[in-house]
């Protein structure tokens, strides 16, 4: 697996060299842009691999502490980090975003930086990634919750109740060896508590980085306007959805036909659609902050005002990190076929509508709606698969305890 991954990276770097030679003949600016974006993608790959490794280590550790090691027999051959990196690299959406010279790879890079830093416990890196991601596009601001949970609790683990049960179980058995029991309960109690120190550090570093970025912005913006005007035109544009050109999202069609009287109401509704899902998911999935981040990224890339395939590329890549948990996901084949079908049909419908004039907006919006449905199914099924996995772990640990007791 490792050889395959490095071989693919070799292939990719060869491709970069060839593209270098080809592009030198062509437009120099486009050449630099493609190179820069490819560099971003390479960095994202490395970071995804590293995050995957960290997550797998944490998973094995938690399973060890619960004494359920036999689940790992299936996952020895696959390293989820390598799989996720390969999925991100060869995803047609990533390649399309790079070829189309979009800045999505840069945004993906800073989001992954934040997640990696939070997983590894590198607070300045996490703060930097989060501040830059929020600055570049507004929606990664919701990732502050998984980042804080990652820094406080550590990487993904099964539910804390299982550790508590194990601790109580052990206590119930060994009255004689109180020291051991005490140590174990202390150990398990320490796993459950939320450490505030990294979070305070994170808040401090993020305020530092955000002042730095705001100072640079204000210097750069001074000749042309004020900082407030910059916010109006960047965040305000994203939030007020002023431009209604067709895209693969679901907002443009709606806002093209809504009456002006109700426009602000529906704008609030659409943005609340993302916000109201934050709290319940955070409560339910607080023991798996990395997966929570993946779900937030998926939801925001579906419901944001101007989505693009680069955003989808990010969460599809992160999907590969959770292979162990998502092994039993339902409808995976349907989703794969659906994604392929929508990504083929959507440009065709766009061409039919805009360039040939034989279709109309409904053709194209139908593919957009189908795409949103597929993403919803993906989110729902992956969350239920993870919760099922947790239930399975709980059943296994309970049976192990009963076997151990009896």
């Amino acid at each position: 697996m490792l050889d395959r991954c490095t071989m693919d990276l070799h292939c990719y770097s060869h491709f970069l060299v060839h593209s270098l030679l080809k592009e030198l003949k062509g437009n120099l600016i486009i050449f630099f842009a493609v190179w820069f974006l490819s560099l971003q993608i390479l960095l994202v790959l490395l970071l995804i691999r590293a995050t995957g490794h960290t997550l797998q280590m944490a998973y094995r550790q938690s399973l060890n502490s619960l004494d359920i090691v036999d689940l790992l027999k299936s996952s020895d051959s696959l390293s989820s980090g390598d799989v996720a990196a390969l999925v991100y690299l060869w995803n047609p959406f990533t390649i399309a975003a790079c070829v189309g010279l979009s800045t999505s790879p840069v945004e993906n890079l800073v989001v992954i930086l934040a997640l990696h830093g939070a997983c590894k416990g590198l607070v300045p890196l996490a703060a930097f990634g989060w501040v830059m991601a929020t600055h570049l596009s507004l929606y990664p601001a919701i990732l502050i919750i998984p980042v804080i949970l990652l820094l406080g609790y550590g990487p993904d683990t099964p539910p804390r109740k299982l550790f508590l049960q194990k601790g109580y179980g052990k206590n119930g058995d060994n009255h004689s060896s109180d020291n051991c029991g005490q140590q174990e309960t202390n150990h398990s109690k320490a796993e459950v508590t939320f450490s505030w120190r990294p979070v305070i550090h994170f808040l401090f570093w993020s305020s530092l980085w955000s002042t730095y970025v705001l100072v640079l912005c204000s210097i750069s913006v001074k000749p042309h306007g004020s900082l407030w005007e910059m916010f109006q035109r960047t965040y305000g544009f994203i939030l007020t959805v002023e431009d209604m050109s067709p895209n693969i999202g679901v907002l443009w069609y709606f806002f093209a036909e809504v009456f002006d009287f109700f426009r602000s109401f529906f704008m609030i509704v659409f943005h609340l659609n993302i916000l109201f899902m934050i709290l319940p998911l955070a409560i339910r999935l607080k023991h798996r902050p990395c997966f929570l981040a993946f779900i937030y990224i998926a939801i925001s890339s579906m419901l944001k005002s101007y989505p693009s395939v680069g955003d989808s590329a990010l969460y599809l890549g992160l999907l590969g990190l959770f292979l162990d948990e998502l092994a039993d996901m339902q409808f995976s084949f349907f989703l794969l076929c659906g994604y392929i079908g929508v990504s083929l049909l959507s440009p065709v419908m766009h061409n039919l509508w805009i360039w040939r004039g034989t279709g109309n907006a409904n053709f194209y919006y139908a593919t957009g709606m189908a795409y949103a449905c597929l993403q919803i199914i993906l989110v729902v099924e992956s969350v239920s698969a993870v919760l099922n996995h947790d239930r399975k772990l709980r059943k296994l640990s309970v049976t192990k305890l009963r076997d151990g007791n009896s």
Binding site: L122, P124, L125, F128, H201, V215, L216, I219, S220, K222
Partner: protein
């Protein structure tokens, strides 16, 4: 709307009483009379000529109230027009001349020699609306542009009647008597155009034609998509001259008149200056093609900027935060090259990040 200009230099030359009275009046406004006299689809280019000049004149500032646009046929909504409601003067179709904002005063069969002469002389029936009258006064500069098919001392209207050079000369003489203009620029783009103003005698008239007696004026290029020639050479080069200008330009009439190259135009642009008593290189083109502008003396901008900040300073001197913010903003405003500083800051971010990560791990 016109803003009155107070720059007038007295010409102390001894002419007839008419000319001396004309010299002492102020230049108050600019008018434009743009006439296309040809009908039928294959004369698309004459319509495009007139509409191009209409667009130029509007762009340089003359409003619709002071433009009389006479188009003898409708090309934009012609059944043979592949691009409905669009008129182009170039095969690259970059400019749609028939945009949102075209006001045609005389259209179709209303463009006759009789109506044209009535417009010039101001002798209308009582029912004719104001938008169809040339309401110029003795301070007006009038641009008269005519295009179509012409010949030796005549201009063809609607393929059925003619305007002869002596008719035009009579009308201009009546205009001068009635003090309907201060200066008049006649531009004619037809075959043998210079013959049309052979008979002019009134002072204050400047005339330029696209070709001389015995020469034809040619079209510039054929648009194979629309199917007809879309612009004439003389108008094409006139527009090329004006596209480089904006409202504030002060190119002179002599630079316009000398910009016509007989080799590329395939005809000699002939102009007549014996009736015009100002030097051409002193007359800006906007005297005829644009509107009048008011010169406003602007004080130095520095004084404007300093006042608000000093005002703020005196108000919030107590709060240290606002004091630091004010000093910061002042420093920022004094930076000469903000872009390079921002670039350095961005590049500096990476080593800062790596150092902080290394320190914290």
């Amino acid at each position: 709307m016109s803003i009155f200009l107070l720059l007038f230099i007295d010409n102390a030359t001894a002419y007839s009483s008419h000319s001396s009275s004309a010299d002492t009046t102020k230049h108050t406004n600019n008018w434009a009379v743009l006439v296309c006299t040809s009908r039928f689809w294959f004369n698309y280019r004459h319509m495009a000529n007139t509409l191009s000049l209409y667009r130029t004149v509007k762009r340089l500032g003359i409003p619709d109230e002071r433009i009389i646009l006479m188009l003898a046929d409708d090309m934009a909504c012609n059944a043979r027009n592949k691009y409905p409601a669009q008129v182009f003067n170039n095969e690259n179709h970059r400019l749609n001349l028939y945009g949102d904002n075209v006001e045609v005063d005389y259209r179709g069969y209303e463009v006759t020699v009789e109506n044209f002469l009535r417009v010039l002389t101001g002798r209308h029936e009582t029912a004719v609306p104001r938008s169809k009258r040339l309401l110029s006064d003795e301070g007006s500069h009038i641009l008269l542009y005519m295009t179509g098919h012409g010949g030796d001392e005549f201009l063809k209207f609607q393929d059925s009647e003619e305007l002869q050079s002596h008719d035009l000369a009579d009308a201009v003489k009546q205009m001068k008597e009635k003090r309907r203009f201060k200066e008049l620029l006649i531009m004619v783009d037809t075959c043998q155009a210079a013959t049309l103003f052979n008979q002019l005698h009134s002072p204050g008239v400047l005339a330029i034609g696209s070709s001389m007696k015995g020469e034809n004026s040619y079209s510039h290029h054929l648009d194979s998509d629309v199917g007809v020639s879309v612009v004439d050479r003389f108008t094409f080069y006139t527009l090329a001259f004006f596209e480089r200008l904006n409202m504030y330009a002060n190119a002179s009439l002599s630079s316009l008149f000398t910009s016509y190259d007989p080799k590329t135009m395939m005809s000699t642009a002939y102009y007549r200056t014996d009736l015009y008593h100002r030097r051409l290189d002193e007359v800006p083109v906007t005297n005829f093609f644009g509107s009048l502008k008011m010169m406003i003396e602007r004080t130095l901008i520095d004084s404007d900027v300093q006042d608000p900040t000093s005002h703020i300073k005196t108000k919030d001197q107590n709060c240290p935060f606002t004091r630091t913010m004010n000093t910061f903003f002042e420093k920022v405003e004094r930076i000469e090259h903000p872009d390079s500083l921002v670039n350095y800051g961005l590049i500096l971010m990476l080593p800062l990040l790596m150092v902080s990560v290394w320190l914290s791990s």
